[in-house]
């Protein structure tokens, strides 16, 4: 009985030593592991679960004091002419906070922000689900993408909720889940208005294309073919 117990202990110790050796070999020497670092001592971790959108402007308010304890604003304003997607976070945004009750406020590209009350416990991760989605408005003039200002309305066009600027690059607009309309006035090509509905679901991306998108060239197509039509 005792011999078996000792044998088990020896095997366990051997396996543990092997595991430690393997982990040591696997270290690349940079000191950074894959994934977020461990939770800071004495704190808990608040993670934003925003349907795969890993870059939002948000801030955290301590419910006890009413003070803002953390803020992160990686995105530029929707109406900024220089805004476009420059990269993408590999992990959801997170912040390590002392245990307590907090209000997370996520600013979107319309006037409605999304708020969540969370309770952060020491050494634990708490996920705040943020019901937001995104859309991209692509405006073509001729065969080229253009920058044009547009407005984001509620679905029945009663209230202007926000404004944006299209981009020649990839650019997403983040809004709470729901239905909206976007409007571009007085298009230079036709002089008319363009109003399009936008249905935003959590974790989904909608692309709205205004204007004729460039078609890939086909063999045999050319100016002569167009003239014949």
């Amino acid at each position: 009985m005792i011999t078996g117990w000792l044998r088990n202990r020896v095997w366990f110790c051997a396996c543990f030593a092997l595991l430690v050796a393997l982990v040591g070999c696997a270290t690349t020497g940079s000191g950074t592991a894959y994934g977020p670092p461990p939770i800071a001592e004495g704190k808990g971790r608040l993670m934003l679960e925003a349907g795969g959108i890993n870059e939002v402007n948000f801030y955290v308010i301590d419910n006890d004091t009413g003070e803002e304890v953390y803020a992160d604003s990686p995105r530029s304003a929707a109406s900024s002419p220089v805004g476009y997607e420059t990269g993408y976070g590999a992990f959801p945004q997170y912040v390590d906070l002392p245990p307590g009750s907090y209000l997370v406020v996520v600013n979107t590209d319309v006037e409605d922000s999304v708020e969540k009350e969370v309770q952060v416990n020491m050494g634990q991760e708490v996920y705040a689900t943020i019901p937001i989605g995104r859309f991209q408005l692509i405006f073509f003039e001729g065969s080229e993408r253009r920058q044009v200002p547009f407005l984001i309305y509620d679905y029945n066009l009663r209230t202007v909720l926000g404004r944006g600027m299209t981009s020649t690059e990839v650019r997403y607009f983040i809004v709470p889940t729901g239905e909206y309309k976007v409007r571009i006035e007085n298009l230079s090509s036709s002089g008319s208005d363009e109003i399009r509905p936008v249905q935003v679901n959590m974790g989904q991306t909608q692309n709205i294309i205004i204007g004729p998108p460039p078609t890939p060239g086909q063999p045999g197509e050319g100016a002569a073919d167009e003239g014949e039509q």
């Binding site: 801030y59 019901p131 729901g178 509905p197 679901n201």
Partner: protein, 285 residues
């Protein structure tokens, strides 16, 4: 035999630990509701939400409002299922009754660009004992929200304030709101923040830049805290704005009621807002 029992006990402890961790992760305060559809069927729904959110979009007095489900006791849809917009009667937990309009999407054909087209995205979701649940808003007759017993009844405060304009005129306003909300959105640098109006003593608007797009403000809370920033006071018409939305944005940023009728004013006209303390309001009652 003994070791098996010990193993089982350790497994149980690990499972309990996992469950406790999960309980910490699951968000509290999710609403429960009884949903009655147009055929009279009742569904008891947990984790009840509207399009994944704990608030509904309603137009009360032609003003867009986002109403938290935690404030509501009952919602009754009074239109036909095929109506795109239906009249709703709302019974609030405070006992107040409201009537408004809600977009229900019945018969609305989504645009070709709408992802998952073919049906409206307006739906209530949740979980029943049979599994995941969703119902189109146009198919709902009534919703009875069930809040935890003993929970403090949450109600929206009715704010009373004195609004002083740049010309020196004073208005005693009741139920003061900023674009239908009980909070004032402002900017600190380029970051948007909000001031809960029920916690503020007064807000001063800098008159030196009344013609500017952004006006500096200083808000002093009841607890003495001071917050500074800028508010959007633009009177420039935006490309794509309709006459009505332009008028509302510019001239009806702040709304409320006065003894002589409805009140609205633009941010570019305000000099100061002085709020009345809740205890003063209770004394008046």
């Amino acid at each position: 035999m003994k070791s098996t029992r010990e193993q089982a006990r350790s497994h149980l402890i690990v499972l309990l630990g996992l469950l406790l961790t999960l309980c910490g992760v699951i968000e509290g305060g999710a609403a429960q509701a009884i949903v009655i559809d147009r055929y009279g069927n009742q569904h008891k729904v947990e984790r009840f939400a509207y399009q994944g959110r704990q608030e509904i979009e309603v137009y009360i007095g032609d003003q867009r409002r986002m109403l938290q489900l935690v404030l509501i006791d009952r919602i009754r849809f009074e239109g036909e299922g095929r109506d795109e917009e239906q009249a709703v009667s709302l019974s609030m937990r405070s006992g107040k009754k409201e009537r408004g309009l809600m977009l229900t999407g019945g018969g609305a054909a989504p645009h070709q660009d709408a992802v998952g087209g073919g049906s409206s995205g307006r739906r209530f979701t949740g979980v029943t004992s049979l599994g995941p649940f969703f119902i189109l808003v146009s198919d709902v007759q009534e919703i009875i929200l069930q809040h935890p017993e003993g929970e403090e009844v949450v109600e929206e405060p009715v704010l009373k304030a004195t609004v002083i304009t740049l010309e020196g005129k004073r208005f005693e306003v009741e139920d003061l709101r900023f674009r239908g909300k009980l909070r004032l959105d402002f900017f600190r640098g380029r970051n948007k923040r909000f001031i809960p109006l029920d916690k503020v003593d007064k807000i001063d608007f800098d008159d030196s830049g009344s013609a500017e797009e952004f006006r500096p403000i200083t808000a002093i809370y009841w607890n003495g805290r001071t917050v500074m920033g800028t508010v959007d006071a633009s009177t420039v018409r935006l490309s794509g704005e309709t006459d009505r939305s332009y008028y509302d944005r510019v001239n009806a940023a702040l709304t409320g009621k006065t003894p002589s009728g409805p009140f609205s004013i633009g941010m570019h006209h305000v000099k100061q807002i002085r709020f009345r303390a809740q205890d003063e309001q209770e004394e008046d009652k």
